[in-house]
Each structure stands twice: as C-alpha cells, then as structure tokens.
Subunit: 316 residues, 2 copies
C-alpha cells in the first residue's frame, strides 16, 4: 500500500456519513478526538454537492486526509465504494477501500460495504456497520459469536475469530418509528421520560414475541387493546411496543439461524438503543455486552487509516 | 322485540360508518339498493356532529329508520354500542343492538361489536366485521371454517355452524401502506396497473413468508436488495411486498392456531384485496371463496333490521 500524503502532522478526519446524519471527528495520531462536528445533511437529505457540504462541516480544521464510512459509499454517495462478499475479514475490506483526491487536494478514503449472497432472500448489504465490526475484531480478535448493530436498519452478524461470516438486516428501527408515530397505534402510546427498557411493560413485550411465541404481526393489535380494555397508560404502552418490536426481531433472527443463549453477543449501537437490546437479550438468558456505536465507528476508521498511512502505525 | 316506527313504506337506510369512510344505502323491503351515498367523513376524520353529518349525507332521502355498523358504535362514535363476548351468535348480537331516536325523530340502531378475552394478548375487539359475519352465517348456516376479513385491520374469525368462536386482528393493511409509502422501501416500489396478485412476484412473496418459513421481519429488507442487487422493477417489487405482507399475516395466523388447508375459508373484503388473499391462500392449497365485503355488510344490516321490525320479515 502506498504511503498517503500527510498534509498536517499526523492528524485525520474520521467521518460517519449515513442516510440521516454526517458526523466528522478530527483525531490525533493516537486516535484522540480534537474536534467534533455533526450535521443532519445525511445522504438522504442532500442531492450531490458532497465536497462542499463536507468542507463546510469541517471548516477551520487542518487540511488532513479524511476516511469515511456509511451511505457516503453508496450509488447516491460521493463515490461508489465496492461491496465485499462475506465471509470476509478486515484485511480484505481494507484492500477494497476507494481512494481519491478532492479538488482541493485532500486525500479521501471510503470504506467498502458488505455483501451476502443469501439466495433465499435475494442477498443482503451493509454500509457503515462493517467499520464497527472491524473495530470489534481489532479489540477482540478471538471473539466468536453474534454482533447485533441496532439502528434504523438493525444488523445481526456472525463473527468467528476475525471472520465476518454472514449477516441479516432488519428494518425494525424504522418500523418502530412508523408504528409509534404514523399508525393508528400512535393514539395508544406516548413518549415517556426515563429508560423504557427498564420497565415491566418492555419486558412483557419482549417475552411475548421472543419467548411465548406470539407472532410479531399477531401481537401488534394488543397495543391498542391494552389501552382500550385494560387502561394501560400510553407511556407504558410505548415501552410495551418497543419490547414487541425488539422481541420480534430477536425471534426472527433466531428462526433464521438458531442462536442458543450460550453464544456470546455484542450489542453495538447508540446508548439507549444498545441498552434496550441488551436488556431484552439478558431477559432471555443471553450473555451480552453493550458497546457504544459511535466509539466503535471511530475506532474502526482510525484502524483503517493507519493501514492507509493516513496515521502512523500503532506502537506494537 | 318491539315493532319500530316505519316512517315510510318499508324502507331502510343501511350505514357502514368506519374510521375512514361513511357509506349509506337506501334499500327497499327486499333489500334492493335504491340510492347510495358515500363520504370520507369517517369517525377518524370528524369530531362529533354525527347527526348533522349523517343527515347531510342522506339529504333528500325519505325519513326512514337507519341501522349502522362500524366505528360509529365506538367511544368516539355517535353512541357507544356494547361489545358482545365470543363465542357468540347473530341472535345474541341482535339482542345487544343500541337504539335511540334522533332529534328529528329518526329511529337509529347501532350494531354491537365483538370482544374476545384472549389473555395472551390482552384481548381483541371487532367493530364492523361482525355484521359481515352475520351475513355469512345467514347465507351459509352450516359453514364451519375460517372467515378472513382483510382491510386496514384484517380479522381472522373461526365460525362453527352459526357460532362466532373467536378471532384475531392484524394491522397488516395499515402496515403495507406505511411500508410502501412512508418507509425507505418506498424507493424500491411503485404503483402498478393491473392485478398485483396475479404476478409471479406476489406469489414469490407469499411463498417466502407463508411457506418457506422466512420470518416477516427478516424478509422486509429483501424488497430493497431485490431492487439494488437484482434490478427488479419497482412495479414488480410492490407486488412482492404485498405478497410478503399477506403471506406474513397467513403465517402468523397459522402459528397462533394451526389451520390446515382442508379448512374451508371465506375471504370477505373489497374486491382487489379479497382477490389478493384468495390468490395467496389458493397458492398455499386452501379451499377458499372470495365474497364482496360491501355486499355482505348490506346483507347483515338488512338481516338485523328485519329483526328490529325496521323492515318486514323475509318471506320464508
């Protein structure tokens, strides 16, 4: 791999640029965050003009290389990055990084996504979460188990000692938003303060869809009847709906590939969401650890940037 | 039962007043439709003022009794009608009809709904579809099997020789609208001309969720990958999504109560929807008959109106 130009003294801009959000962090040679910028100009909210949007987001920062993960590598992104077919490894992903230089002379790298053939469901794709998995493997090279990356589109991946074996996407996060905000169930739920996943209503929802065998589609109407017939408070009912949806995802994932509770699980996501999945899985007897998604994206980007020569290699 | 005032010569206004629609039909003593009026002033779109809205809808029609079914009997309706607990019969439902006289002296009857205890999902309710089941039982007194009433909220009911044994609600219709119009999948589907359910894409969707065991939640992302990776046309993909959703409902219903393909099925609903369920079930080997939902509501209302004396009893 060729050495990249270091336009400043060993600094890097690490970018998580997804559908709804752009987050850029300026880091030093040790991966410490020196500056942090966030905007809602995700790929879904803009129509081209990536360079100008990026430069205005990091205006005033030093002119250093940038490495990016997420939908920025999709057809609607800045440059289309490859998909690497599973099973694969961080080394194979690093080899497929797309590199170019902007009109201002800034080196930019875009991380490739993951592709799975999966004929029974016409394939599957990931863009963004591969970078968190790279960080997980960097932290725990011997990890063998399931990585769950909840979000708008939740991903379940099997990892076996450094190999990303396969994965499955669920649109559960988006479905929860639609059900709680746009469906007739919105009249039966209400936003609540505090941690939804610590409530008995959340646990009940999880139990019904993930343990008692109530099918997800057959469970949803109960959000309405609980309020209508049992007088359940709308705040408690939101926790119940959240439990049904997360439990439904767990049940679907296990139906597709039996995962016994002895399998180690890492939940990687935004704090409250990771906590909810962690609570649901713990309630079902799984051995899980919740990890902060933003921290893992950063770690993965820094790890890949070292391989590109954008940052000095880590001391052994 | 007391004889009701017949303010005109044996005519009746039969009303299907649901969440999104108000449909009134003026019928003669034989149940023939003399006039038909429809408006979008469903219970979900109005805030009280039921009498004025109803009278303006039927302005110019004779001043005869009206009988109504649907959400008009809910707490947000004109008068709250009872729920009758399953198992129950048309005779028991008729005995719980709510009757009152409007400020203009018009007799009005509202059909009660159905309630099921179902502790595993905090109960279930029906308002509107009970009237179609009354019509089905009137037509086929010996029918034993499953009545499926698709719509915004689909209902599956078990009927055993005149007894409505139990039922299950699914919010499948609403979910399909949200997924195809509000979720990110809207970019992967498009409205198509013609009968969706006659396409191979529809059949594939049904097969995957209802036969091959692909969980509904695990299947949805494939709508995106089919377009992204396999270049499936958005019009064909809408049929596929419709198949996944209807197949998912069938799988959920069968998981909750095993129904073998030998069980006779009656699908009662709007023409295109009834046709889609009919096609899905036939593809799975079920013996089904599709019946027009609007015709059955009318039949059920006329049947109940005869019992109230609003119309003369039918010649034996």
């Amino acid at each position: 791999m060729t050495a990249a130009p270091n336009l400043d003294s060993g600094k890097l801009i690490a970018v998580d640029w997804g559908t709804s959000r752009l987050r850029a962090r300026l880091v030093d040679a040790d991966g410490r965050v020196l500056a942090d910028a966030e905007s809602d100009r995700g790929i879904g909210a803009i129509d081209g003009g990536h360079e100008a949007i990026f430069e205005s987001t990091v205006a005033g920062w030093p002119s250093v290389p940038a490495i990016m993960a997420g939908m920025i590598g999709s057809r609607q992104g800045w440059r289309e990055a490859a998909y690497v077919t599973c099973p694969t490894t961080p080394v194979a992903l690093a080899a497929e990084i797309t590199r170019f230089t902007t009109t201002r002379g800034r080196p930019v790298a875009i991380v490739p996504g993951l592709l799975l053939a999966a004929p029974s469901r016409d394939g599957d794709v990931i863009r963004g979460e591969e970078t968190q998995m790279i960080a997980l493997i960097d932290r725990e090279p011997a990890f063998t188990g399931t990585a769950i990356l909840p979000g708008t589109h939740s991903k379940w991946a099997r990892i076996d000692r450094g190999v990303i074996v396969d994965f499955q996407s669920f649109i559960t996060g988006e479905l929860f938003e639609l059900l709680s905000q746009k469906s007739f169930l919105r009249h039966s739920v209400a936003e609540a303060a505090g941690d939804l996943s610590a409530t008995p209503d959340f646990a009940l929802g999880v139990r019904r869809t993930a343990k008692d065998g109530l099918p997800f589609l057959g469970a949803l109407f109960s959000v309405r009847t609980r309020q209508l017939l049992a007088g359940v408070r709308p705040e408690d009912n939101l926790a119940y709906l959240s439990g049904l949806v997360i439990g439904g995802e767990i049940a679907a994932a296990r139906a597709m590939r039996p995962i016994d509770p002895g399998t180690p699980v890492r939940v990687i996501g935004a704090r409250s969401l990771a906590r909810a999945y962690h609570a649901a899985l713990k309630g079902l007897g799984f051995e899980t650890v919740a990890l902060d998604g933003d921290a893992l994206v950063l770690d993965g980007l820094v790890h890949l940037a070292r391989g590109l020569g954008y940052l000095p290699a880590r001391a052994p």
